[in-house]
């Protein structure tokens, strides 16, 4: 018995809408098996993962904090992936944006006032965009593979941050802990509803970015250009669109959003720089982008789901005593199932028995 793919005459709208849900369902089934193998009642586990982290209002705030960077980064990545540009170094752009954005509160802590925060956010975006411009430049100028260069730059950014917080940027009064000074109040991202929880402006940035990129991609010429060049570079060139400009645009837009996510995370949720400022947001955002079907509005929903897996992982560690790595396994499985289900959009799948010679002709008729 083997699988056979039969091309659909046109893409299936039904499966296009359903595939993220099927994928999520399959992940739940696979997760149940995983938990059963670990000797944990799957129902208890799922309650701990997906329900218990959002039963109280302050927990919803935590969800917003986790989802914000995921959505911001994934929205940018969706533009890249749509244009067939593979920026997988968002984690590095996140870190570099956070570093550049932190220049003011770390080096000039006395600088205070309402202009500080907007300036920091802007610098974060510029930092992220500049860092993302490196693989874009190397790709357009030297034809290097952007997947490998953008990923290598992740390690470089992380090591650079590590050096800063252990070296020149270390808080002199910090008892030798590898961290910078606490940001002063005018460098801290304001909380949305301080009465009920600590969610900050970062979540608003994420929603605004999603809407703006949605408008860009579906309502503006630039978005059309990106989609054309992404699906058929040759057609795009005939239409007079520049491939190189598009590479820079996609990389720098996603870099800027990752940088914004970085500085928002540091100035909002953490409040200072430390050796590790991201639990892999830049990589998880790749999953968010695909789960959201590369559509900015879908990405908002997907970001909330993946944000929940982070919270669920923490809850499961403290309640059930299982490694928070299980959350990462969930995330990986989810992406697998999403990609697998996407096949259903373009193909019908059927199982073929082991005697293909005999029934070859009736199958042909059936297909036509």
């Amino acid at each position: 018995m083997r699988l056979e793919l039969v091309k659909r005459p046109q893409r299936s709208m039904l499966f296009s809408a359903l595939s993220p849900f099927i994928a999520f369902g399959l992940t739940i089934v696979a997760g149940a098996i995983l938990f059963a193998l670990l000797g944990i009642n799957p129902l208890t586990a799922f309650y701990t993962y997906f329900i218990s982290p959002i039963t109280e209002v302050w927990q919803l705030h935590e969800l917003a904090i986790k989802a914000a960077p995921l959505i911001l980064i994934a929205v940018g990545l969706s533009v890249c992936f749509r244009s067939n540009i593979w920026n997988i170094g968002a984690e590095g752009q996140f870190v570099f944006g956070a570093i550049v954005g932190s220049v003011i509160p770390v080096l000039y802590p006395d600088m205070q006032g309402p202009f500080v925060l907007p300036l920091m956010l802007l610098m974060g975006m510029v930092g992220g965009a500049a860092y993302a411009a490196i693989p874009a430049f190397l790709k357009t100028r030297f034809n290097t593979n952007e997947i490998l260069t953008s990923l290598m730059l992740v390690y470089v950014a992380q090591l650079f941050l590590d050096w800063l917080v252990r070296g020149p940027w270390r808080d002199p009064k910090g008892f030798n802990f590898p961290q910078t000074v606490q940001f002063n109040p005018s460098a801290v991202l304001p909380e949305l509803m301080p009465m009920s929880g600590r969610a900050n402006l970062g979540f608003v940035f994420a929603l605004v970015a999603a809407v703006l990129v949605w408008i860009l991609m579906s309502r503006m010429l630039k978005g059309f250009e990106i989609r054309v060049l992404g699906s058929s570079p040759r057609a795009g060139r005939f239409a007079g669109f520049s491939f190189n400009r598009m590479v820079f645009f996609a990389f720098m837009l996603s870099g800027a959003l990752a940088g914004l996510a970085g500085i928002s995370e540091v100035s909002g949720a953490i409040g200072q720089l430390q050796p590790s400022i991201s639990p892999g947001y830049g990589f998880t955002a790749i999953i968010v982008a695909f789960l959201g079907r590369l559509n900015p509005l879908g990405i908002v929903a997907a970001g909330l789901v993946l944000g929940l897996t982070y919270l669920g992982g923490e809850a499961a560690q403290s309640v059930l005593g299982i490694s928070d790595k299980v959350a990462r396994v969930f995330q990986g499985m989810l992406l697998f199932f999403v990609l697998g289900c996407d096949t259903l959009i373009h193909y019908r799948i059927r199982l073929v028995g082991l005697a293909p010679k005999l029934d070859a002709s009736p199958k042909l008729e059936e297909a036509h």
Binding site: R2, L3, L5, K7, F81, W86, I88, L138, F142, N143, T144, N145, I147, L148, T149, L151, M152, L153, Y155, V156, L159, F160, D162, W163, R166, G167, F283, T284, I286, I287, F290, S323, K325, V326, A327, R328, V329, F330, Q331, G332, M333, L335, F336, L339, G340, D342, T343, Y347, I349, A360, K363, L364
Partner: protein, 306 residues
């Protein structure tokens, strides 16, 4: 003299995992498939090798476990990209993400435990020869496997009919299919060979290089192996050269740190990654040459029409 020998030995130890993973990926890419999951398969091999070695007390069983787990893990990628025709780049990435998560979960209990180390070869008299003795006859078993793999794969690809078929699939899967070659079957085998190699490379890390389990212990080596394949223009002997250059960079920065060179250790640690970028730039800048060397069907999904 002893110093030089021991530096050469450590370079060989650092180069071996890169070499094995890259040789495996080279075969995969020659068949026209781009598997970006090397890092994930490698880290799964590392955790399987350590775990099996630790639980049974035999590093040899660890070695076999690393290979088997690497191959099985790559099967996941093969089913997705070959049978379901998913996007190879995205699927490879998800294999890496899943591998890093799964190995972290499986390895939670192994952190900090002392592992089993594969013994170095020892042949009386030969190994005791001055200078060349330890270099040629006194290394770990995986080193010898890695060298055998380079020449074996080189011979297979360029001197056997099956190798020719594999390369033809990588250059044009439609033509190969039209000639009656079972494209998907060949690719399944190639991907699993790559997985076994990546698993073995990971096993080298946790059974020879540093016999212990540390989360994410591959530290980007899988990605560097992918870059090595590009560097080599898809030729096995150049992978050998490239892996040793990178091994030297890796060891060089460690020695520089130990000697207390007045450069922050983080800068030295980032050298292998920066070197990768530089090498990619040098190799890829000649667009026509790159296009000539790259397997023409690389990364494209293939759905056989009947």
């Amino acid at each position: 003299m002893d110093m030089t020998v021991s530096i050469l030995l450590t370079i060989a130890t650092a180069a071996t995992p890169l070499l094995i993973a890259a040789i495996g990926e080279l075969v995969v890419e020659r068949s026209g498939v781009l598997n970006l999951g090397v890092e994930g398969m490698m880290v799964m091999g590392a955790v399987a090798g350590f775990g099996a070695g630790f639980l049974t007390g035999s590093p040899w069983i660890g070695l076999i476990a690393a290979i088997v787990v690497g191959a099985l893990f790559s099967l996941l990628f093969a089913v997705m990209t070959l049978s379901l025709a998913t996007n190879q780049v995205a699927t490879g990435l998800s294999l890496t993400l899943l591998g890093l998560g799964l190995s972290g979960m499986l390895g939670t209990g192994f952190v900090g435990l002392p592992g089993e180390r594969l013994p170095n070869l020892y042949i009386p008299l030969l190994t005791d020869l001055p200078v060349v003795g330890r270099l040629l006859f006194g290394q770990d078993p995986i080193f010898y496997i890695s060298i055998a793999l380079v020449f074996g794969v080189s011979w297979f690809l360029f001197k056997t009919r099956t190798g020719l078929t594999l390369r033809s699939i990588g250059d044009s899967h439609t033509s190969a299919h039209a000639l009656g070659i079972q494209v998907i079957k060949y690719r399944y085998l190639a991907v699993m060979f790559g997985g076994a190699c990546a698993g073995l490379a990971g096993g080298h890390l946790s059974l020879v290089y540093t016999p212990q389990w540390v989360e994410n212990m591959t530290a980007g080596r899988g990605w560097i192996a992918l870059a090595l394949v590009v560097f080599s223009s898809w030729r096995p002997l150049r992978v050998l050269a490239g892996a040793y250059i990178f091994g030297a960079v890796w060891i060089g920065q460690l020695h520089a740190q130990a000697f207390g060179i007045p450069v922050p250790s983080q800068f030295l640690s980032s050298l292998p990654y920066l070197a990768t970028i530089v090498v990619l730039v040098i190799i890829s800048r000649n667009k026509r040459l790159t296009m000539m060397n790259t397997p023409a069907s690389l990364g494209q999904a293939f759905v056989p029409d009947r």
